[in-house]
């Protein structure tokens, strides 16, 4: 069946059985969780500076070079870069201490499952971004965040089920794409008023009510006319989007929600970073950590308010073909701080235990430096994930001293096998997504079956 038409063939009946955690108390126009947030480090991060720490290998021509890290610590089995020649390994941006990976995995990030040695099978940005977002390098499947939102949208008419801010936002038409409307929220919440503060609308109350009532009849007229694919597809999207119209007032709650205070975060920051992150940026008088988190704060508010079920987010700066150590740590510092913000803030909002968090990048960086002190594309990377039914605080998968992906035993994914042992399996994005689909309740939904993951990436019990 053609993907674009499956919406017309899948009704609401039966879908809810795949949502065992559906919040029966939630209003029809809001969603009470779980939520999915996919955070992507755009450009290809270097996981050896985060969760797959390595030192320069032995020999005259070492297979792996690291000019920065001099010591690696074991945090719940996760090899975390721990020291440099100048002391503790801290991720900095322009010299300012912003993140401490050791502290992250020992504290706020301790529930995360770290997957090392993930073989993306590509050195190509677009393919890598796609593979990590949807689980398939060759076929542009909907990203997992869109699939989840599509599942929720079949149960609840929420206005912005899928907030698209990432690099790969394909939906396969299972759900509409939304972008947060910022300062337009008050206008859109009262679309028949010139300004939200005005007492009188642009048209009479009766006109407003009748227009909304007649819309259904008009859509039915249009539906009868629509016979060609483009017509059917865009009209169906309008019908789906119109369903969420009544709940758009929820947007007002998001815009008017009080801003978080830095004091609420202070205890959750790494000691070496507190001074900088709690200081104010003189340009806007906002504390640095609040400023760093602003781009994800809106997403979390949308979750909390029930207007969104999933979101993608991307931060760039990781394609460090030149001056790798400085540029990569700067990008990683801000990115990891944002992940920390998400975890801390989600707890404050009371949605922490309902949040699926997927943290990825296009691929990894080459083991050796190029002539510009940069590192190029390398198909081996790491993935961080947490959420309901995901057993975190541990690491699966491993790389060798040259940052090549080792295999895991199919019978026991905790067991690592040599690089060339073909009885084992290299962890691919497809394996990760098969598990994500399982814990998110996607694998039982009929409409998701239209988007199969690579058959060769069989089920591996990575999350249990």
């Amino acid at each position: 069946m053609h993907r674009r038409n499956f919406l017309t063939l899948t009704g609401l009946a039966g879908v809810s059985i795949f949502l065992p955690w559906g919040d029966a108390s939630a209003e029809p126009a809001s969603w009470g969780g779980p939520y999915v947030l996919h955070m992507h480090a755009g450009g290809g991060w270097d996981p050896t500076l985060l969760c797959d720490g390595k030192l320069t290998a032995q020999g005259a021509t070492p297979v792996y070079e690291n000019r920065l890290v001099t010591g690696v610590a074991d945090v719940n089995g996760i090899p975390v870069p721990a020291s440099t020649k100048d002391g503790r390994f801290i991720l900095r941006n322009a010299g300012n201490a912003i993140e401490d990976p050791q502290h992250f995995f020992q504290n706020v990030g301790k529930q995360m499952l770290v997957l090392n040695g993930v073989d993306t099978q590509t050195n190509n940005h677009d393919t890598g971004v796609q593979g990590l977002a949807c689980g398939h390098n060759d076929i542009e499947l909907p990203c997992v965040a869109a699939l989840f939102a599509g599942l929720v949208a079949r149960q609840r008419d929420i206005p912005m089920a899928f907030l698209a801010g990432g690099q790969y936002n394909r939906t396969g038409d299972v759900v509409g794409v939304s972008r947060f409307p910022g300062d337009k929220v008050p206008l859109l919440a009262e679309p028949f008023k010139g300004a939200a503060t005005e007492e009188k609308g642009l048209i009479t109350d009766v006109a407003q009510r009748r227009i909304l009532e007649l819309r259904g009849a008009r859509l039915a007229q249009l539906d009868r006319e629509a016979t060609l694919p483009r017509n059917k597809r865009t009209l169906q999207a309008l019908k789906d989007a119109t369903k969420g119209g009544e709940s758009i007032n929820l947007l007002k709650k998001i815009a008017s929600a009080p801003a978080p205070t830095i004091d609420a975060f202070r205890d959750g920051l790494a000691p070496d970073t507190v001074a900088y992150l709690t200081s104010k940026n003189p340009v806007n008088n906002v504390e640095r950590f609040i400023e760093i988190g602003a781009s994800v704060e809106t997403i979390l508010r949308c979750f909390q308010t029930g207007v969104s079920a999933s979101a993608t987010f991307s931060q760039g700066g990781f394609d460090t073909h030149a001056t790798h150590d400085t540029n990569q740590t700067a990008a990683m510092a801000t990115f990891l701080a944002r992940v920390r913000y998400v975890l801390l803030r989600a707890q404050q909002m009371g949605i922490g235990d309902k949040l699926f968090l997927l943290v990825t990048s296009d691929f990894g960086r080459t083991p050796k430096y190029n002539t510009g002190d940069g590192k190029d594309h390398w198909n081996v990377t790491s993935v961080l994930v947490s959420g309901p039914q995901i057993r975190g605080g541990r690491v699966l998968g491993k790389t060798d001293e040259g940052h090549r992906a080792l295999r895991v035993a199919q019978s026991d994914v905790n067991k690592t096998l040599p690089y060339a042992d073909e009885s084992g399996v290299r962890i691919h994005p497809g394996h990760v997504h098969r598990e994500l689909r399982r814990v998110m309740g996607l694998d039982g939904a009929d409409f998701v079956k239209q988007f199969p993951l690579p058959a060769t990436d069989v089920s591996l019990p990575l999350f249990t």
């Binding site: 053609h2 674009r4 297979v63 073989d119 099978q121 590509t122 050195n123 190509n124 677009d126 390098n137 206005p159 912005m160 936002n169 038409d173 794409v177 939304s178 972008r179 910022g182 300062d183 337009k184 859109l188 919440a189 679309p191 028949f192 010139g194 009188k200 609308g201 642009l202 048209i203 009479t204 009766v206 006109a207 009748r210 007649l214 009849a217 008009r218 007229q221 249009l222 629509a226 016979t227 060609l228 483009r230 017509n231 059917k232 865009t234 009209l235 999207a237 309008l238 989007a241 119109t242 119209g245 073909h321 030149a322 190029n370 510009g372 940069g374 390398w378 198909n379 081996v380 992906a405």
Partner: protein
């Protein structure tokens, strides 16, 4: 007997203008000819079965750059990423099928692993795939290739010429066609003339720049500081320079950012061949960029001259300091490719070596998506022992043999500043030499490699196809159909057929475009005449065959913004419609918030050319709310404004007056409403007019569509009348914004007050006595007959309609 001429499945241009898309698929005559419905041409058979099935084991290695190609194999298979891959493969197979050894075609021996096939056996002799291949080779060798006679394959209904012209005028030129133009369109010749005329209008050039920026994404802000590379106009970026002003920097920034799109606009506006966009050896500059590049321009760099883009046949001048000594260097010019905006948007590094730029060139000017070559498992960890894998490992070379030579066309452009040019730059020895399509660039051109590359691109047949595909995406909103890969799909054959038809059409219009000396206006006409622009209905059960067809393209924020004005006379705006922005001087200094306000653009699914580069192609709930808001605002202003004009000059209400009411207003609530003779008929006639004007829909006055809107009119009217009787004082406008006070059709002036240029509008005449009959041209702030607000509701309803927000 079936025809044995070489099959051509192109769409005859003449056929597209009439009843439907007619293609050669019904079989040629002859006693043994199958019926038209069962006829399968050689070409279709190749795509469906041979390429899709029998050759699937071969094309991984035999693709250009693949393992077999690397080892010198002569037999090549072009992947579906090559625009006319069917013709290319048929040519390749036709030639190779003739070669035989020991009495048997080599093409049938190699797949079995014989004749030292490098890939060993890939097919079994008794397999279905081998049988397909054998039958096909036999067909090629016997010269019995089959073509099919004409037949209406798609079976879709097309819009009339008038409907198509209305859509073209609104979506391409941002205006409603005149009655004379609609009449002219009744003839094919007249239709063509009318469409071509649209491509000469000012707002078409706005649309043109949008279409090409969607492809090249260069309108991500490039600061005027890039002028430091040239060193000719420090006052544009150096805050310590005496001539520096922030406003000047802003205009210089806008100029250098927009240079590629203004180049494209200039080429089309000047009726130059579109190939100049890559091959033009001149600069298109306004006074700001001319100053930045050290080039002559007769006008000073000031805002009112921003739009004075002109051709300058000199090279941009770079002032360098080399080893402490000043050195002046000229920079080569190759259309948009050498502009700082393009070079910076598609930046490079010492290790990327121009490949990203080459990817963009391939995608937008050679119809080749290099990423489609590479979507297969790549294992870098297996390459650590391969010296220079991009050249020596087939895993990498499949892409790099294509992309690296083109990347070499950007040699000389600095990998740190992006724009600085050094003619004696040493290129990367580990890459294939600069060139394109296996043709190496002569070393004598190395000093201006980009000019050599730019000149080569239009010589490739793919250039015409590529430009056609970019314009198609811009006009229709969809990407060209991808080659179907799901061979198990039950409708696979229909999908292949749809792909073939469209692919062949692209090949044909690309060829026509080339033969027309790359006249873009004719290419636009070809797209507007096509079934892809004009199909309006078909068989609901034929989705696979009809993929890519149908009305209902979601209008982006810019197109929707222009459509409001095209149909109602007013843009959507919150504050002022007039703005002292010299970029808008050719549009009467008017602005639409949906176009000018970046946040509205993004909310309505548009792009910012940086973080957001793909438009929404379907609406979201937020977009629905946005269209409600914008519709309400536009309806509020345009309804009352339209009634200030005499009926013949009205856009929306030419068939009614303000006192055309459905019922006689009552003296008190105890009296029953009585219908006004002819009132309903006139109102329905005007609603019919609105359906055509706003929605492009031809409906009867007594149709369900008109009845729905008439019901809305009556409900609102009754409520207003009843409220007036109950509470009195209900004869004003609902909201102050809906009072018609400004004559928006009159030219704007500006007055410098309070530190800014404020618009000064021509006001409508005062209405000294509200009880005296209203005269056209007067201020309108009362709704004595309850009709303005009732019409406002109807217009709001229609402006929110699917057929308004989609075309």
């Amino acid at each position: 007997m079936p025809s044995t001429r070489r099959p051509r499945l192109h769409v005859p241009a003449a056929a597209l203008s009439g009843l439907g898309l007619v293609v050669s698929l019904g079989c040629g005559g002859g006693d043994d000819a199958p019926s038209a419905s069962s006829c399968v041409s050689t070409r279709e058979n190749f795509t469906n079965k041979v390429y899709g099935k029998a050759l699937s084991a071969c094309n991984g290695c035999h693709t250009p750059g693949g393992t077999a190609d690397q080892r010198g194999a002569k037999f090549k298979i072009y992947r579906e990423t090559y625009p006319d891959f069917v013709t290319a493969n048929l040519d390749s197979m036709r030639a190779y099928a003739k070669i035989e050894a020991d009495g048997s075609p080599i093409l049938l021996q190699k797949p079995l692993g014989k004749r030292e096939h490098g890939g060993g056996p890939v097919l079994r002799e008794g397999s279905e795939e081998y049988k397909i291949l054998s039958d096909f080779v036999a067909e090629l060798r016997s010269g019995s290739e089959r073509t099919c006679a004409a037949g209406d394959v798609l079976g879709v209904k097309l819009s009339t010429n008038r409907e198509a012209l209305r859509k073209a005028a609104i979506t391409l030129a941002g205006r409603f066609p005149t009655d004379a133009e609609l009449g002219q369109a009744d003839s094919e010749e007249g239709f063509d003339k009318a469409v071509l005329a649209l491509t000469n209008e000012e707002l078409f050039y706005d649309r043109l720049r949008e279409i090409w920026n969607d492809a090249l994404l260069t309108e991500r802000i490039l600061d005027a500081g890039v002028g430091g590379v040239f060193g000719n106009a420090p006052e544009q970026y150096d805050a310590t320079h005496p001539g520096y002003t922030p406003e000047g920097r802003g205009w210089a920034t806008a100029s250098v950012t927009q240079e590629p799109m203004r180049f494209i606009e200039y080429v089309v506006r000047s009726n130059l061949p579109f190939s100049d966009v890559v091959a033009g050896t001149y600069v298109v500059a306004n006074p700001y960029t001319a100053k930045m590049y050290g080039l002559p321009h007769e006008l000073p760099a000031s805002p009112e001259n921003f739009l004075a883009w002109k051709r300058i046949d000199f090279s941009p001048v770079q002032n360098l300091t080399v080893a402490g000594a000043p050195k002046v260097v000229a920079m080569p010019s190759a259309g948009v490719l050498s502009t700082p905006s393009f070079l910076t948007r598609w930046e490079t590094t010492r290790t990327n070596k121009g490949r990203k730029r080459a990817r963009i060139v391939l995608k937008n000017f050679l119809a080749t998506d290099i990423f489609k070559f590479a979507q297969r498992p790549v294992d870098s960890t297996a390459l650590t022992s391969v010296q220079n894998p991009t050249s020596n490992s087939p895993m990498c070379s499949v892409c790099h043999t294509v992309i690296d030579p083109i990347a070499g066309g950007f040699r000389g452009f600095d990998e740190l500043t992006m724009s600085r040019f050094a003619p004696d730059d040493k290129w990367h020895d580990d890459m294939l030499p600069p060139g394109v399509n296996s043709v190496q660039m002569p070393p004598s051109s190395y000093g201006a490699a980009i000019m050599w590359l730019g000149a080569q691109i239009p010589n490739d047949a793919r250039f015409g196809i590529s430009v056609a595909q970019v314009m198609y995406k811009g006009i229709l909103g969809d990407d060209p159909l991808p080659f179907p890969t799901d061979r198990a799909a039950p409708d696979y054959d229909d999908r292949i057929k749809a792909f073939n038809l469209q692919n062949d059409w692209f090949v044909q219009i690309g060829k026509d475009f080339r033969e027309a000396k790359y006249d873009l206006r004719k290419l636009v006409l070809a797209i507007v005449r096509s079934v892809y622009f004009r199909a309006v209905s078909g068989d609901k059960a034929k989705d696979a065959l009809h993929e890519g067809l149908g009305p209902g393209r979601l209008l982006g924020p810019e197109m929707l913004g222009r459509k409001y004005r095209a149909t109602t006379g007013l843009y959507f705006f919150a504050g002022d419609q007039g703005v002292k922005d010299e970029q808008r001087q050719r549009d009467g200094y008017l602005r639409s918030d949906l176009i000018a306000d970046p946040s509205w653009r993004l909310v309505y699914g548009g792009i910012d050319s940086g973080d957001t580069t793909k438009r929404n192609d379907t609406v979201s709930p937020i977009m629905v709310a946005t269209s409600q808001y914008t519709a309400s605002m536009v309806a509020c202003r345009s309804t009352s404004y339209d009634f200030t004009k005499p009926p013949p000059a009205r856009r929306l209400f030419p068939l009614v007056e303000m006192n055309t009411v459905p019922f006689t207003p009552r003296a008190n609530l105890d009296v029953a409403l009585t219908a006004v003779p002819d009132g309903e008929r006139k109102i329905r006639e005007n609603i019919k007019h609105l359906f055509w004007r706003l929605l492009g829909q031809t409906v009867a006055p007594d149709s369900p569509e008109v009845s729905l809107a008439y019901g809305l009119f009556v409900d609102v009217w009754k409520d207003l009348e009843e409220t007036d009787l109950k509470a009195g004082n209900n004869r004003g406008m609902t909201n102050g914004r809906c009072i018609a006070d400004i004559d928006y059709d009159k030219p704007l002036k500006f007055e410098f007050t309070a530190g800014r240029w404020a618009p000064v509008y021509e006001r409508l005449a005062a209405r000294p006595d509200p009880k005296a009959p209203y005269q056209p041209g007067m201020r309108l702030d009362r709704d004595d007959n309850f009709t303005i607000r009732a019409w406002q509701a109807v217009v709001t309803f229609l402006l929110m309609d699917y057929r308004f927000t989609h075309e």
